[in-house]
Protein backbone atom coordinates (compact mmCIF):
# COMPACT_ATOMS: atom_id res chain seq x y z
CA UNK A 1 0.00 0.00 0.00
CA UNK A 2 1.64 3.23 -1.16
CA UNK A 3 0.07 6.32 0.28
CA UNK A 4 0.19 9.77 -1.32
CA UNK A 5 0.24 12.52 1.29
CA UNK A 6 -1.10 15.45 -0.67
CA UNK A 7 0.59 18.78 0.00
CA UNK A 8 -1.21 22.03 -0.70
CA UNK A 9 0.37 25.41 -0.12
CA UNK A 10 -0.56 25.93 3.52
CA UNK A 11 -0.81 22.27 4.54
CA UNK A 12 0.79 21.90 7.96
CA UNK A 13 -0.01 18.37 9.13
CA UNK A 14 1.69 16.70 6.18
CA UNK A 15 4.77 15.76 8.20
CA UNK A 16 2.67 14.31 11.01
CA UNK A 17 0.81 12.27 8.39
CA UNK A 18 3.99 10.93 6.81
CA UNK A 19 5.44 10.18 10.25
CA UNK A 20 2.30 8.36 11.31
CA UNK A 21 1.93 6.36 8.11
CA UNK A 22 5.57 5.56 7.43
CA UNK A 23 7.22 5.39 10.85
CA UNK A 24 4.32 4.08 12.93
CA UNK A 25 2.24 2.01 10.52
CA UNK A 26 5.10 1.03 8.24
CA UNK A 27 3.56 2.09 4.94
CA UNK A 28 5.48 3.42 1.96
CA UNK A 29 4.28 7.01 1.91
CA UNK A 30 5.35 10.00 -0.09
CA UNK A 31 4.47 13.64 -0.41
CA UNK A 32 2.65 14.64 -3.59
CA UNK A 33 2.40 18.28 -4.58
CA UNK A 34 -1.14 19.45 -5.34
CA UNK A 35 -0.22 20.46 -8.88
CA UNK A 36 0.48 16.85 -9.86
CA UNK A 37 -2.15 15.50 -12.19
CA UNK A 38 -1.38 11.83 -11.64
CA UNK A 39 -1.38 9.53 -8.63
CA UNK A 40 -0.12 6.62 -10.72
CA UNK A 41 1.78 4.17 -8.53
CA UNK A 42 -0.16 5.10 -5.40
CA UNK A 43 -2.95 3.12 -3.77
CA UNK A 44 -4.30 5.60 -1.26
CA UNK A 45 -4.50 9.35 -0.69
CA UNK A 46 -4.18 11.26 2.59
CA UNK A 47 -5.33 14.89 2.61
CA UNK A 48 -3.70 16.49 5.65
CA UNK A 49 -4.73 19.35 7.88
CA UNK A 50 -3.59 22.92 7.61
CA UNK A 51 -4.80 26.04 5.91
CA UNK A 52 -4.56 25.25 2.22
CA UNK A 53 -4.40 28.43 0.16
CA UNK A 54 -4.82 30.35 3.39
CA UNK A 55 -8.41 29.09 3.48
CA UNK A 56 -9.17 32.01 1.16
CA UNK A 57 -12.80 32.28 0.09
CA UNK A 58 -13.81 29.27 2.22
CA UNK A 59 -11.88 26.50 3.98
CA UNK A 60 -10.69 24.06 1.37
CA UNK A 61 -12.43 25.89 -1.48
CA UNK A 62 -9.42 26.68 -3.64
CA UNK A 63 -7.56 23.48 -2.74
CA UNK A 64 -10.55 21.39 -3.80
CA UNK A 65 -10.18 22.76 -7.34
CA UNK A 66 -6.45 21.96 -7.69
CA UNK A 67 -5.19 19.50 -10.35
CA UNK A 68 -4.49 16.54 -8.05
CA UNK A 69 -8.13 16.49 -6.93
CA UNK A 70 -9.22 14.87 -10.20
CA UNK A 71 -7.09 11.90 -9.17
CA UNK A 72 -8.42 11.93 -5.61
CA UNK A 73 -11.90 11.89 -7.11
CA UNK A 74 -10.90 8.88 -9.22
CA UNK A 75 -9.58 7.07 -6.14
CA UNK A 76 -12.84 7.80 -4.36
CA UNK A 77 -14.86 6.39 -7.26
CA UNK A 78 -12.67 3.29 -7.55
CA UNK A 79 -13.10 2.32 -3.92
CA UNK A 80 -9.52 3.15 -3.02
CA UNK A 81 -8.79 4.56 0.41
CA UNK A 82 -9.00 8.34 0.75
CA UNK A 83 -8.63 9.99 4.15
CA UNK A 84 -9.15 13.71 4.72
CA UNK A 85 -8.31 15.05 8.15
CA UNK A 86 -9.30 18.51 9.38
CA UNK A 87 -8.52 20.81 6.45
CA UNK A 88 -8.42 17.65 4.33
CA UNK A 89 -12.01 16.90 5.40
CA UNK A 90 -12.97 20.45 4.43
CA UNK A 91 -11.33 19.93 1.03
CA UNK A 92 -13.26 16.67 0.46
CA UNK A 93 -16.56 18.43 1.30
CA UNK A 94 -15.75 21.40 -0.93
CA UNK A 95 -14.91 18.97 -3.73
CA UNK A 96 -18.31 17.32 -3.28
CA UNK A 97 -16.64 13.96 -2.62
CA UNK A 98 -18.27 13.98 0.82
CA UNK A 99 -21.58 15.73 1.59
CA UNK A 100 -21.99 18.78 3.80
CA UNK A 101 -19.67 21.58 4.85
CA UNK A 102 -17.59 22.73 7.82
CA UNK A 103 -18.56 26.06 9.41
CA UNK A 104 -16.78 28.23 11.98
CA UNK A 105 -17.00 26.75 15.47
CA UNK A 106 -20.18 27.70 17.28
CA UNK A 107 -18.38 29.38 20.18
CA UNK A 108 -16.06 31.30 17.84
CA UNK A 109 -12.96 29.79 19.50
CA UNK A 110 -10.15 27.83 17.91
CA UNK A 111 -10.24 24.52 19.74
CA UNK A 112 -7.06 22.54 20.38
CA UNK A 113 -7.72 19.63 22.70
CA UNK A 114 -8.00 15.88 22.99
CA UNK A 115 -11.57 14.71 22.48
CA UNK A 116 -13.45 11.46 22.93
CA UNK A 117 -14.92 9.84 19.86
CA UNK A 118 -17.50 7.12 19.60
CA UNK A 119 -16.99 4.86 16.62
CA UNK A 120 -20.53 4.54 15.29
CA UNK A 121 -19.68 2.51 12.24
CA UNK A 122 -17.21 -0.22 13.15
CA UNK A 123 -17.56 -2.23 9.96
CA UNK A 124 -16.26 0.11 7.27
CA UNK A 125 -12.76 -0.51 5.96
CA UNK A 126 -11.55 2.52 7.93
CA UNK A 127 -13.20 1.65 11.22
CA UNK A 128 -13.43 -2.15 11.36
CA UNK A 129 -11.91 -3.35 14.55
CA UNK A 130 -11.84 0.12 16.09
CA UNK A 131 -12.54 0.42 19.80
CA UNK A 132 -15.96 1.79 20.66
CA UNK A 133 -14.39 4.89 22.19
CA UNK A 134 -11.22 6.61 21.01
CA UNK A 135 -9.17 9.51 22.31
CA UNK A 136 -7.89 11.69 19.48
CA UNK A 137 -6.92 15.38 19.35
CA UNK A 138 -8.70 18.14 17.45
CA UNK A 139 -7.24 21.51 16.39
CA UNK A 140 -9.51 23.70 14.33
CA UNK A 141 -11.46 26.92 14.12
CA UNK A 142 -13.90 25.75 11.48
CA UNK A 143 -15.07 22.28 12.33
CA UNK A 144 -18.80 22.66 12.80
CA UNK A 145 -20.15 19.97 10.50
CA UNK A 146 -23.35 20.92 8.75
CA UNK A 147 -25.57 19.33 6.14
CA UNK A 148 -29.25 19.60 5.42
CA UNK A 149 -31.58 17.49 7.55
CA UNK A 150 -32.27 15.03 4.73
CA UNK A 151 -28.53 14.49 4.21
CA UNK A 152 -27.92 13.96 7.92
CA UNK A 153 -30.79 11.46 8.11
CA UNK A 154 -29.37 9.62 5.13
CA UNK A 155 -25.87 9.49 6.65
CA UNK A 156 -27.26 7.80 9.76
CA UNK A 157 -29.55 5.49 7.78
CA UNK A 158 -26.72 4.35 5.55
CA UNK A 159 -24.36 3.84 8.49
CA UNK A 160 -22.01 6.47 7.12
CA UNK A 161 -21.39 8.31 10.38
CA UNK A 162 -17.94 7.09 11.35
CA UNK A 163 -17.40 9.04 14.57
CA UNK A 164 -19.39 11.16 16.99
CA UNK A 165 -17.96 13.44 19.66
CA UNK A 166 -18.82 11.95 23.04
CA UNK A 167 -17.88 11.79 26.71
CA UNK A 168 -15.35 9.37 28.21
CA UNK A 169 -18.04 6.69 28.58
CA UNK A 170 -19.37 7.24 25.08
CA UNK A 171 -22.27 9.40 26.25
CA UNK A 172 -23.61 12.17 24.01
CA UNK A 173 -23.86 15.77 25.16
CA UNK A 174 -23.30 19.31 23.99
CA UNK A 175 -20.50 19.63 26.56
CA UNK A 176 -18.49 17.01 24.64
CA UNK A 177 -19.03 18.64 21.25
CA UNK A 178 -16.06 20.97 20.62
CA UNK A 179 -17.51 22.94 17.73
CA UNK A 180 -21.29 22.67 17.53
CA UNK A 181 -21.36 20.04 14.79
CA UNK A 182 -24.86 18.90 13.95
CA UNK A 183 -25.76 15.69 15.84
CA UNK A 184 -22.18 15.72 17.28
CA UNK A 185 -20.76 14.40 14.01
CA UNK A 186 -16.95 14.19 13.94
CA UNK A 187 -16.36 12.07 10.85
CA UNK A 188 -18.29 10.64 7.93
CA UNK A 189 -17.86 8.04 5.21
CA UNK A 190 -18.60 8.04 1.51
CA UNK A 191 -21.31 5.79 0.12
CA UNK A 192 -18.78 3.05 -0.60
CA UNK A 193 -17.11 3.48 2.77
CA UNK A 194 -13.69 4.05 1.24
CA UNK A 195 -13.53 7.81 1.79
CA UNK A 196 -13.31 9.01 5.39
CA UNK A 197 -13.42 12.68 6.38
CA UNK A 198 -12.88 13.65 10.01
CA UNK A 199 -11.97 16.74 11.98
CA UNK A 200 -9.93 14.94 14.69
CA UNK A 201 -6.32 14.07 13.86
CA UNK A 202 -5.51 10.34 13.95
CA UNK A 203 -2.00 11.13 12.69
CA UNK A 204 -1.36 13.05 15.91
CA UNK A 205 -2.24 10.04 18.05
CA UNK A 206 0.24 7.37 17.00
CA UNK A 207 2.60 7.04 20.01
CA UNK A 208 2.16 6.97 23.77
CA UNK A 209 4.43 9.98 24.05
CA UNK A 210 1.89 11.94 21.98
CA UNK A 211 -0.82 11.18 24.54
CA UNK A 212 -2.69 8.50 22.61
CA UNK A 213 -2.15 5.75 20.10
CA UNK A 214 -5.80 5.52 19.14
CA UNK A 215 -5.15 7.15 15.77
CA UNK A 216 -3.40 3.97 14.71
CA UNK A 217 -6.76 2.22 14.75
CA UNK A 218 -7.75 4.38 11.80
CA UNK A 219 -4.41 4.61 10.00
CA UNK A 220 -3.54 0.91 10.29
CA UNK A 221 -6.62 0.05 8.21
CA UNK A 222 -4.40 0.97 5.28
CA UNK A 223 -2.01 -1.85 6.14
CA UNK A 224 -4.69 -4.52 5.59
CA UNK A 225 -4.75 -5.04 1.84
CA UNK A 226 -7.80 -7.34 2.10
CA UNK A 227 -9.98 -4.31 2.92
CA UNK A 228 -9.28 -2.51 -0.35
CA UNK A 229 -10.74 -1.65 -2.73
CA UNK A 230 -13.70 -1.19 -0.46
CA UNK A 231 -15.78 -4.41 -0.38
CA UNK A 232 -19.03 -2.48 -0.48
CA UNK A 233 -18.03 -0.96 -3.79
CA UNK A 234 -16.98 -4.37 -5.08
CA UNK A 235 -20.40 -5.73 -4.15
CA UNK A 236 -22.24 -2.93 -5.91
CA UNK A 237 -20.06 -3.31 -8.98
CA UNK A 238 -20.86 -7.02 -9.07
CA UNK A 239 -24.53 -6.14 -8.79
CA UNK A 240 -24.31 -3.92 -11.83
CA UNK A 241 -22.51 -6.61 -13.81
CA UNK A 242 -25.45 -8.95 -13.24
Amino acid sequence: MRVAVIRFPGSNCDQDALYGLRDNVGLASEYVWHEEDSLAGFDAAFLPGGFAYGDYLRCGAIASRSPVMAEVRRFAAEGRPVLGVCNGFQVLCEAGILPGALLPNEDRMFVCDAVWLRAVNRKSPWTQGADRILRIPVAHGEGRYFAEDATIARLFEEDRVAFLYCGPEGQSGDEFNPNGSVRHIAGILSEQGNVLGMMPHPERATRHILGSRDGLQVLSSLADASLWPSPRLAASTAGRAI
Partner: protein, 77 residues
Protein backbone atom coordinates in the same frame (compact mmCIF):
# COMPACT_ATOMS: atom_id res chain seq x y z
CA UNK B 1 -14.58 46.84 -18.61
CA UNK B 2 -17.47 45.95 -16.37
CA UNK B 3 -17.42 45.69 -12.60
CA UNK B 4 -19.68 43.09 -11.10
CA UNK B 5 -20.36 42.80 -7.39
CA UNK B 6 -21.15 39.37 -6.01
CA UNK B 7 -22.64 39.20 -2.53
CA UNK B 8 -22.24 35.88 -0.76
CA UNK B 9 -24.16 35.32 2.47
CA UNK B 10 -24.55 32.47 4.90
CA UNK B 11 -27.97 30.84 4.60
CA UNK B 12 -30.36 32.55 7.04
CA UNK B 13 -31.01 29.32 8.95
CA UNK B 14 -27.33 28.91 9.85
CA UNK B 15 -25.71 30.39 12.92
CA UNK B 16 -23.23 33.11 11.94
CA UNK B 17 -20.79 32.95 14.84
CA UNK B 18 -18.71 35.91 13.61
CA UNK B 19 -21.86 38.00 13.13
CA UNK B 20 -23.00 37.16 16.64
CA UNK B 21 -19.64 38.34 18.00
CA UNK B 22 -19.94 41.65 16.19
CA UNK B 23 -23.51 42.16 17.43
CA UNK B 24 -22.36 41.45 21.00
CA UNK B 25 -19.54 43.94 20.60
CA UNK B 26 -21.82 46.66 19.23
CA UNK B 27 -24.15 46.17 22.16
CA UNK B 28 -21.24 46.48 24.58
CA UNK B 29 -20.35 49.78 22.90
CA UNK B 30 -23.81 51.04 23.76
CA UNK B 31 -25.60 50.36 20.48
CA UNK B 32 -28.40 48.55 22.23
CA UNK B 33 -30.71 48.87 19.24
CA UNK B 34 -28.64 46.17 17.50
CA UNK B 35 -30.18 42.77 18.04
CA UNK B 36 -28.50 40.82 15.26
CA UNK B 37 -25.71 40.87 12.73
CA UNK B 38 -24.93 38.72 9.71
CA UNK B 39 -21.62 39.00 7.91
CA UNK B 40 -21.26 38.17 4.24
CA UNK B 41 -18.69 38.66 1.54
CA UNK B 42 -18.50 41.18 -1.23
CA UNK B 43 -16.56 39.92 -4.23
CA UNK B 44 -15.86 42.52 -6.90
CA UNK B 45 -15.02 41.18 -10.32
CA UNK B 46 -13.56 43.16 -13.18
CA UNK B 47 -14.62 41.62 -16.47
CA UNK B 48 -14.20 42.29 -20.15
CA UNK B 49 -17.90 41.73 -20.65
CA UNK B 50 -20.92 40.85 -18.59
CA UNK B 51 -22.81 37.62 -19.05
CA UNK B 52 -25.39 36.53 -16.51
CA UNK B 53 -25.09 32.79 -17.22
CA UNK B 54 -21.30 32.99 -16.95
CA UNK B 55 -21.58 34.84 -13.66
CA UNK B 56 -23.97 32.25 -12.33
CA UNK B 57 -21.56 29.52 -13.37
CA UNK B 58 -18.72 31.24 -11.50
CA UNK B 59 -20.83 31.47 -8.36
CA UNK B 60 -21.96 27.85 -8.57
CA UNK B 61 -18.49 26.52 -9.36
CA UNK B 62 -16.41 28.46 -6.90
CA UNK B 63 -17.57 31.72 -5.35
CA UNK B 64 -20.38 30.29 -3.21
CA UNK B 65 -20.98 26.92 -1.57
CA UNK B 66 -24.64 26.02 -2.12
CA UNK B 67 -24.69 23.83 0.99
CA UNK B 68 -24.22 26.82 3.30
CA UNK B 69 -24.42 30.00 1.24
CA UNK B 70 -26.71 32.10 -0.96
CA UNK B 71 -25.50 34.63 -3.49
CA UNK B 72 -26.68 37.48 -5.64
CA UNK B 73 -24.82 39.75 -8.03
CA UNK B 74 -25.22 43.10 -9.69
CA UNK B 75 -23.43 45.11 -12.32
CA UNK B 76 -21.85 48.20 -10.76
CA UNK B 77 -23.00 51.48 -12.21
Amino acid sequence: MVTVRVYVTLKPSLLDSAGRTVADSLQKLGFREVSGCRIGKLIELTMAEYSEPRLKEMCDKLLANPVIEDYRFEVAT
